[in-house]
């Protein structure tokens, strides 16, 4: 045992100090986003979600043209036709082609989800960012206001607003639905951004930058903003299904888009009547697509969260 530890000078040789290759980085350094993408690619469920989302977006554009029928064309002789070769998803109680209507509905559902999430994102980062960099007093007031809005159930307010903003008897326009959702939907994003900004403001690299003489706006632009981008992106991905879910629920409660326009929610609502008389496909098909959209965005959001911050992997 002791013999092993007996080191003698001749056992060592002097390293070649002229060889600079030792310190050379031999592999290309992976930048942050490619690294995120690499980790995301390993998550099969998230990739499935991403593929489904892309497929559904493509179909929302071209799917409405494939069957050769329009979403509003009624054919009373072909009412309630079950799915067959001519009508792939069957027809509804007015003889309209369900295949076209479903993709048309998916287009509106996706558009409402994405636009609502985008507006939430813009308002949320502005409000949260201002609260985060303001004085404690302003911050406290802004957050109390946000908390009050937050503790009112989101859908309750959306329902109320769409009641107020629409004419009696008619459905809502897309604008009204998005407006109703964004008026209260930005709060979670604002709370998230404000928390991130506060946390990063105290971080050591912000302090280091400040002590090196960086201005506030530089720190905000170079350190705080890039570092909040990840959590914000995850939040946006998870806001989209929430908005789509809210829209589907509104549609199901009869507050959705004005006929003959359709979203997946209003299609499911129309299909509910078909359920009682044996035309279950009229509700099942839109239901499958709502679930697929929710599924895809949720698993993609979860995957992104893991990919952005491997420490958080659960």
């Amino acid at each position: 045992m002791k013999a092993d530890l007996d080191f003698r000078p001749e056992m060592f040789e002097v390293a070649d100090k002229t060889d600079l290759n030792v310190d050379k980085i031999r592999r290309p350094s992976i930048k942050f986003w490619p690294d995120v993408w690499r980790r995301l690619k390993m998550n099969k469920l998230a990739m499935l979600g991403l593929t489904l989302i892309i497929a559904m977006i493509v179909m929302a554009f071209i799917g409405v043209k494939l069957s050769g029928y329009t979403y509003f064309e009624q054919n009373l002789k072909l009412r309630n036709t079950h799915p067959n070769m001519e009508f792939w998803f069957g027809t509804d109680e007015l003889g309209r082609d369900m295949f076209t209507r479903v993709w048309y509905g998916a287009r509106y559902s996706l558009a409402i989800g994405v636009i609502a999430a985008f507006i939430d994102f813009v308002i949320g980062i502005t409000y949260g960012g201002i609260a985060g960099i303001s004085s404690r007093r302003v911050d406290a007031i802004m957050m109390r206001v946000a908390e009050v809005i937050y503790s009112i159930p989101y859908l309750l307010i959306v329902i109320l607003l769409s009641v107020v903003l629409t004419q009696e008897g008619g459905g809502s326009s897309m604008f009204v639905l998005i407006l109703a959702m964004s008026l209260t939907g930005w709060v979670p994003m604002a709370i998230l951004v404000r928390g991130q900004v506060l946390q990063l403001k105290e971080s050591e690299y912000s302090l280091a930058s400040e002590s090196l003489g960086a201005t506030k706006s530089w720190i905000l632009k170079k350190h705080i903003f890039p570092n909040t981008l990840g959590p914000i992106l995850v939040n946006v991905t998870l806001t989209i299904p929430r908005a789509i879910f809210a829209e589907a629920t509104l549609g199901f409660l009869g507050l959705g888009l004005q006929a003959p326009m359709s979203s997946l929610g209003t299609l499911a609502n129309d299909g509910l009547a078909g359920l009682a008389v044996g035309n279950a496909y009229q509700i099942i098909i839109p239901a499958i697509f709502i679930s697929l959209i929710m599924f895809s965005f949720n698993v993609l959001g979860d995957g992104l969260r893991d990919a952005l911050d491997p420490r958080l992997r659960k």
Binding site: R144, I152, P153, V163, L253
Partner: protein, 309 residues
């Protein structure tokens, strides 16, 4: 503790007041008045109706009267139903909705954390995959679709479950389950991740090495600590259950408050919409308050952090 309690109570009251004011403002910003559409009404009758509902007074005065009535527990009259007031409907519908909500919450609380714990204990084995599948279904299938599927495939084929309506215990099972699935899935996911984290803690190793029975380690040391995040989302869960009940009550034809609310929306019964919204808000804010206090009592660390502010 009491300082935080008071502050919290004050915030709850502000929230309720904000809801009342927002709802009042919204409902009074609708152009026209509810009786204008009932045409061919003699002017005298029209005037009488307006004064009966207090609509002839200026809006700020109506607001003060409305607030005063609310303080006495009067939610107002319904504009479409001439016999029932909002209070009557709440008294009739709320017990039904409350039972539905409570059952759903119970199902979610019992099975969600249990499923999550099992998944964590048998990570990457069958229980884990099972709970993952349930969690994915629960999160991606909205409750109105779950309800429809249950009616179509379960209630139609199994005579034990009625298709709709309310009355016996059998009636409550399917709707409660449909309503519970989403919170159940969320809780299972949350419980799984927090359980995995807790199981890696040193105190679990200590407990194990002291020779405590495995069941005691899991129940007394792991679950007790891991359940805290689940309790923290109870408030949101209750809020989701409440909104979910609108849809579930519509599908299953349950005579609860949610159905009155949905009906009041399609009837444009503004006073009923206003009354039920405010009632919902009060219930919800009270629930959030209770959950917050309970959480503080369960986890002493929260109490310290909040007092430190």
């Amino acid at each position: 503790m009491s300082k935080y309690l008071l502050k919290r109570l004050f915030m709850s009251l502000v929230t309720i007041w904000a809801v009342i004011t927002i709802t009042f403002a919204l409902m009074h910003s609708v152009p026209g008045d509810p009786f204008r559409s009932e045409s061919k009404m003699p002017p005298a009758v029209y005037e009488n109706l307006l004064s009966q509902y207090g609509l002839d007074k200026p809006v700020p005065q109506q607001y003060v009267i409305y607030l005063g009535n609310l303080l006495q527990g009067d939610l107002g009259a319904s504009m479409k139903s001439r016999v029932e007031t909002v209070n009557d409907m709440v008294e009739r519908g709320f017990p039904v909705s409350a039972q539905l909500g409570a059952q759903a919450l119970l199902i979610a609380i019992v099975f969600g954390p249990a499923l999550g714990s099992l998944a964590a204990l048998y990570q990457n084995k069958f229980p884990d995959y099972l709970s993952m599948v349930i969690a994915i279904i629960g999160i991606s299938v909205p409750s109105f679709i779950m309800g429809t599927v249950l009616i179509q495939f379960v209630a139609r084929n199994v005579a034990y479950f009625p298709i709709g309506g309310w009355g016996t215990w059998q009636h409550t099972l399917l709707p409660s389950f449909a309503l519970a699935l989403m919170p159940l899935a969320t809780m299972a996911r949350l419980m799984r991740s927090s359980m995995l984290e807790v199981l890696n803690q040193d105190y679990i190793k200590t407990a194990k090495s002291k020779g405590i029975r495995k069941s005691a380690v899991i129940l007394k040391h792991a679950v007790r600590n891991a359940i805290l995040p689940v309790i923290s989302i109870l408030g949101t869960t209750i809020s989701n259950l409440l909104v979910g009940s609108f849809v579930i009550e519509k599908i299953f034809g349950i005579p609860g408050l949610g159905r009155f609310f949905v009906q009041s929306i399609s009837n444009r019964d503004y006073t009923l919409i206003m009354g039920t919204t405010i009632f919902y808000a009060i219930i919800l804010v009270a629930m959030l308050f209770i959950v917050d206090i309970a959480y503080m009592l369960i986890d002493p660390r929260i109490k310290l952090a909040k007092e430190g502010r």
